[in-house]
Symmetry: C2
């Protein structure tokens, strides 16, 4: 599978703080290596860095001041997740076989037209309105089945799966 | 597959408004028939009803004043989605074959112990922290593969999937 990074567009700190956090944590848990956010938001950086410190791995979160220039300079495939796109399944084979890094763009509300124009693929997880968090999870789990079961090295905490209760151990 | 309903626990109107909306829209788009929310929040009811009016279907959103009593009186299987649970794949076969209605519980932050105790299954989509929105999408799409491609009757708008642009038509 290709290396995957996520670009979160249209983030508005007051309105989108928690959704963008869920997008970032989903990106991390489902196997993406980095998220780029179009506006700096220290609370999200803090939450995501805190999760990485506690649960391990090398997930990176960073701010891009000019997302259009960033997209234009991306060396690899660009996929835009949108409810207006074609079914993602139609592009999945090509994406999985690709050796180029994949940039996945998820917007908040309406994205500017250049996003459609500069993306190699404008694809949908169904054409009903739902959530960029859901769409990202479904896409990443199709690119990397059970990627959400990967292990992360170097964390402080580990969940011990239980059918009965919360159980977490300290690793250090 | 069983009929699925979702119970959103621990909703705090100020903090969780948008996440709970995404949980509700994911439930609808991925094939659940109803969401129950533990606190009344007219803005969420309005957003979700508005989506149903525009995009069709019979999805129901309602408030339960006593979630514990509601869970205790549920006639069917109860599944609690939690990062502390066992891998959901271990219970998937039983759930898909079941003819009883399935109640899926998703909490915001920490849930009270009775949720673990009253659930038939406490299951996880991976044991990393990510999002109840992602977890619900993955679970529902495993119970009902490509349920997100279902059609909804009676809406006013329909997306025409495009690889190039936003395209939506009015049906009335």
């Amino acid at each position: 599978m290709p290396e995957c990074e996520v670009l979160r567009l249209g983030h508005r700190p007051e309105r989108d703080k928690r959704i963008t956090t869920h997008v970032a944590l989903t990106a991390r848990a489902f196997g993406a290596t980095k998220i780029h956010i179009n506006r700096s938001d220290s609370r999200i950086v803090e939450t995501v860095s805190d999760v990485s410190e506690k649960f391990g791995g090398n997930f990176v979160i960073e701010t891009v001041s000019n997302p259009k220039a960033f997209v234009q300079s991306w060396e690899g495939l660009i996929l835009h997740l949108t409810m207006f796109g074609v079914p993602f399944g139609k592009r999945l084979g090509t994406i999985i076989k690709s050796k180029e890094p994949l940039l996945i763009i998820v917007g908040a509300e309406k994205v500017p037209p250049w996003v459609f124009e500069h993306s190699d693929y404008n694809v949908a997880v169904g054409n009903q309105p739902h959530s960029e968090v859901s769409a990202l999870a479904i896409l990443l789990s199709n690119i990397n089945p059970e990627g959400y079961n990967q292990t992360f090295e170097g964390g402080l905490l580990e969940v011990i799966p239980s059918s009965e209760r919360r159980n977490m151990i300290s690793k250090k």
